[in-house]
Point group: C2
Amino acid sequence: MSTADQPATGATLNDLDSPFPTARQRSRERAAKREAVLRAAVRMFNERGFHQTSLDDVAARLGVSKPTIYHYLGNKDQVLLECVKLGLTQLLDAAAASRALPGTGADRLVTFLTRYAEINMDDFGRCVVRTRDEALEPDSRTKFRALKRQIDDQLRGLIADGMADGSLAPGDPKLLGFALAGALNWIGHWHEPTGALAPNDIARQLVTTLARGFLPR
Amino acid sequence: MSTADQPATGATLNDLDSPFPTARQRSRERAAKREAVLRAAVRMFNERGFHQTSLDDVAARLGVSKPTIYHYLGNKDQVLLECVKLGLTQLLDAAAASRALPGTGADRLVTFLTRYAEINMDDFGRCVVRTRDEALEPDSRTKFRALKRQIDDQLRGLIADGMADGSLAPGDPKLLGFALAGALNWIGHWHEPTGALAPNDIARQLVTTLARGFLPR
């Protein structure tokens, strides 16, 4: 379906004059359709489990045919890889944004962890946590693992910075990284999107607990 | 094979006189064989993954036939259920032992968490963490979930006691429970049994980090 007959903000005269979509419009449409497929797929993977969801199910929910999904994304393995890549890209973006902030290493770590927790309560982050390496085909698995390793490295880098500037308690950055990642990845398993607390409240409370410990200060 | 010809400590005259095993010996032998099957199975499940391991593989490693495994434990679902039950029983025993200790609620929680971390580095605890509910048949899954819920309840109870006696920082016991369980369950995914640090050192360091937080005190 063309959107040429729906003038959008910033539409050029050209957009309005021709009934044929421009290259830019086609590319935007393609991206929108791709995203709709990914959003439908990731929700079904998260709700039912990857193995219990077929691309036919995803196609049915979107009211399209399975070949349409193949056209936009490829096979089920490629759809899953795209879903986890979106989640991991959000985490990497959050790490880059946190590292660029002023303040102490502890401030930057807290910012990153809070965003990390929030992403794990969102569709694509939840999918990252719920996807086992073995669910992906070997090539995709290699990519998935490499991206996860980048997140681990970013987290350890933030921790090492904070230990170096004295804003974090001294310790083993690797062990602290595992403790924090574990506490926050677990969210993707227990958190109910329909729960009473808002994701940013949960994220803030969890990160405060990890920062201050469970013993009184 | 009978052990009647190998006089054991505490063997009665009866044990030594007869070439036929007594009921007690048969029961001990049966338990030992059952445990050998479970130990071989859990290690293969942990190394290769449950779906990638067949009972034929387990039988081959033990040098027995698959019907022998069926005889002692039942089908693959039942073998997995027994493995996770052993891990969960260790955790429940640790909770009961911790709750019976004197001292503050915080002391009891630290004792339990340290043991919890150690169990997750051991074969059966690792299997609990690595087993997804969906890997089990519906009946076994119900039992698995019920046992895990008991552990969650025990952990929350220990936390609530510590918050009540003021030895823990005030907060939401449920959220703290999720944070702690997540940090410690994650061990079952990253810990390498051949790693440099001893399990009890890793357990102690992780629990200290969770108790004191990552900000300096």
